[in-house]
């Protein structure tokens, strides 16, 4: 299903959560809403779900205005950060909930629930209660529960935010596979840029209740539309007043016209990569990321004077991709 969010605004008391946000989610895509906490990403997702009502603006699903529709009538599946598992029901009853509400025949419910429990790998846990499951298992149960009603859109609110790093990585890959197989239009809220880059086709970067940029992971990283986006989606250094990626910084022992003199403060070996911390003339500290080969060639050591420049810096901040929102 295609979703159009048009000029949606929302305030809570004296806090503006969203100011006139417009976003298109194409049919079958996986879009990530990426931003720091308080950027409005969860509010936007909850407005799409109907759990929150916008102060102004409209939400369209396949062209139909659903702004006033209840969540029950939107054909959505919603997954919460803290699972929202029905504590008094077994795993099987949790997954079957939506189908039972819809009064589907018992045999159909059983068959569908078995299929979903297999899909999320919880078949042998079907008789347990949520508190007997690990966080990762609970979230897979919540996903199965949301998928049971065959939603036209899957909405995920920081679904892996409360999980360990290893479980998170596993579930991310699983979610992407699921999306590739089932093709359900999916909107994912996250504050983790790596998660957004790994899972999503399209990323909408949000800040202060607005969408700063919408684009593919590569566009967002290579052509950030603003300093905020640049800083949020990857490491940055400030060089001569401009933001640059540390791996775009060139370090040389030979002085050149556009280079800045800097002193090596520290050389940190991180396996293949080497991080060089530099003190610039104004006392500012910048970081450069080099390969081990480059560092060996330059024979960098603490106290050395080097010349740094960033040929890409000007290009990166002066030719942003046009924000589509």
């Amino acid at each position: 299903m295609r979703i159009d969010v048009h000029a949606v605004s929302k305030s809570f008391a004296d806090f503006t959560a969203l100011s006139s946000v417009t976003l298109q989610v194409p049919e079958g895509s996986l879009v990530a809403l990426l931003g720091p906490s308080g950027s409005g990403k969860s509010t936007l997702l909850r407005i799409i779900a109907g759990l929150e009502e916008p102060d102004s603006g409209r939400v369209l699903m396949d062209g139909a205005d659903v702004t006033a529709a209840r969540p029950q009538d939107r054909g959505i599946g919603f997954v919460f950060q803290h699972y929202a598992a029905f504590a008094h029901m077994t795993v099987r009853e949790n997954v079957a909930f939506g189908l039972r509400i819809r009064k589907r025949p018992k045999a159909d419910v059983t068959a569908r629930v078995n299929e979903l429990l297999g899909l999320v790998g919880l078949t042998q846990w079907s008789g347990q209660h949520p508190h007997q499951l690990s966080g990762g298992q609970r979230q897979r149960m919540a996903l199965a529960r949301a998928l049971a009603i065959e939603p036209r859109v899957l909405l995920l609110d920081e679904p892996f935010g409360a999980l360990d790093a290893s479980v998170r990585a596993e579930l991310r890959a699983w979610l992407r596979r699921l999306h590739d197989e089932q093709g359900v239009t999916t909107v994912l809220v996250t504050h983790d840029q790596e998660e957004a880059m790994e899972v999503a086709d399209t990323i909408a970067v949000m800040n202060g209740g607005r969408i700063e940029q919408v684009g593919s992971p590569r566009e967002i990283y290579d052509k950030p539309a603003s300093e905020f986006v640049m800083g949020f989606v990857g490491p940055v250094s400030r060089l001569d007043g401009k933001l640059v990626r540390p791996h775009d910084v060139t370090v040389s022992l030979i002085q050149s016209e556009d280079a800045i003199e800097a002193m090596v403060l520290r050389v940190v070996h991180l396996g293949f990569e080497v991080r060089v911390e530099l003190e610039l003339p104004g006392g500012e500290v910048a970081r450069a990321q080099l390969t081990r080969g480059q560092t060996e060639e330059l024979e960098l050591a603490r106290g050395d004077i080097v010349y740094v420049r960033s040929p890409l810096a000007t290009e990166a901040t002066q030719t942003p991709s046009a924000p589509s929102a």
Binding site: L51, P71, Q72, F80, H82, A84, H88, F97, R145, I149
Partner: protein, 270 residues
């Protein structure tokens, strides 16, 4: 904080001693005095027409007051914990009124409203409706004094459970009514059960407010606590054993309610 073994044991000892002196000893004394002339004597005291009538009046009043206050209590707790309606703070403090006001004042207030010469007194008299000095007034008084228990037990449970499960149910297609029965109520059942136990105990045991609006006629407007009081106050009439017997009966009734909830509760949870 680490507490030494000795301190822990003495703390436990003090707590037990405190309970023993203040609770178990007096209650135990009543039990002992009840049966000092044998079981059959005690039994005959609680099977007199006045005692049987008092038993049933107490049961009927509880059967009316407890369901009313349970429904009202769960509804009000939902309003306090889930809605953003204005005046919630006022409602929240009003709920505690029966806890703060002395039961005698509750009884007097009811007389002022429904009694002869009260606000609705003449209207009620004209239509032949008896509230004060009749069972109806005793029910109202009981509802009043036992009103806060369910609200006070359920509201914190609702707040702690949060509304995410309810939102999840909505996204899965459940109506508010379905969500209440399938998601909300099961998650607050312990709070409700405990609130019902406390409400029942209070409804059975209330004397202050009920005494004011009762005509204290044995066989028609005496509840069990009023019967206990009446028998106990007739010194020298040899009715003191009867007072103890009725008191024990009352205590056993409350214990049965408590036990029923503890036994039935976990079964429903499964």
């Amino acid at each position: 904080m680490r507490v030494s073994r000795r301190a822990r044991l003495s703390l436990r000892g003090i707590a037990l001693l405190y309970l023993l002196i203040l609770l178990l000893l007096p209650v135990g004394a009543v039990f002992i005095r009840t049966f000092e002339h044998g079981f059959s004597t005690a039994w005959s005291w609680i099977t007199t027409p006045a005692a049987v009538s008092a038993f049933w009046l107490s049961v009927v009043i509880a059967l009316i007051a407890v369901p009313l206050n349970t429904i009202f209590g769960v509804g009000t707790a939902l309003l306090l914990a889930r809605s953003k309606v204005r005046g919630r703070k006022l409602l929240n403090s009003l709920i505690d009124l029966p806890f703060v006001v002395s039961p005698v004042i509750v009884g007097l207030a009811l007389v002022l409203v429904y009694g002869q010469g009260g606000w609705f007194g003449s209207w009620l008299l004209k239509h032949g409706i008896m509230i004060i000095y009749a069972p109806a007034g005793m029910v109202i008084a009981t509802v009043f004094v036992s009103l806060p228990f369910v609200v006070r037990e359920v509201a914190p449970v609702l707040l702690e459970a949060g509304d995410e499960q309810e939102q999840a149910a909505a996204t899965l297609g459940a109506s508010s009514w379905q969500t209440f029965w399938r998601v909300t109520l099961p998650s607050i059942r312990w709070g409700v059960a405990y609130g019902v136990v406390l409400t029942t105990a209070r409804a059975l045991g209330e004397i202050g407010a009920v005494a004011v609006v009762s005509s204290n006629v044995a066989g028609s407007t005496l509840t069990l606590p009023l019967l206990v009081q009446q028998r106990a106050s007739q010194i020298g009439a040899g009715q003191i054993t009867g007072a103890y017997a009725a008191a024990t009966e009352l205590a056993v009734m409350s214990l049965i309610v408590l036990l029923a909830m503890t036994v039935l509760g976990p079964r429903r949870a499964r």
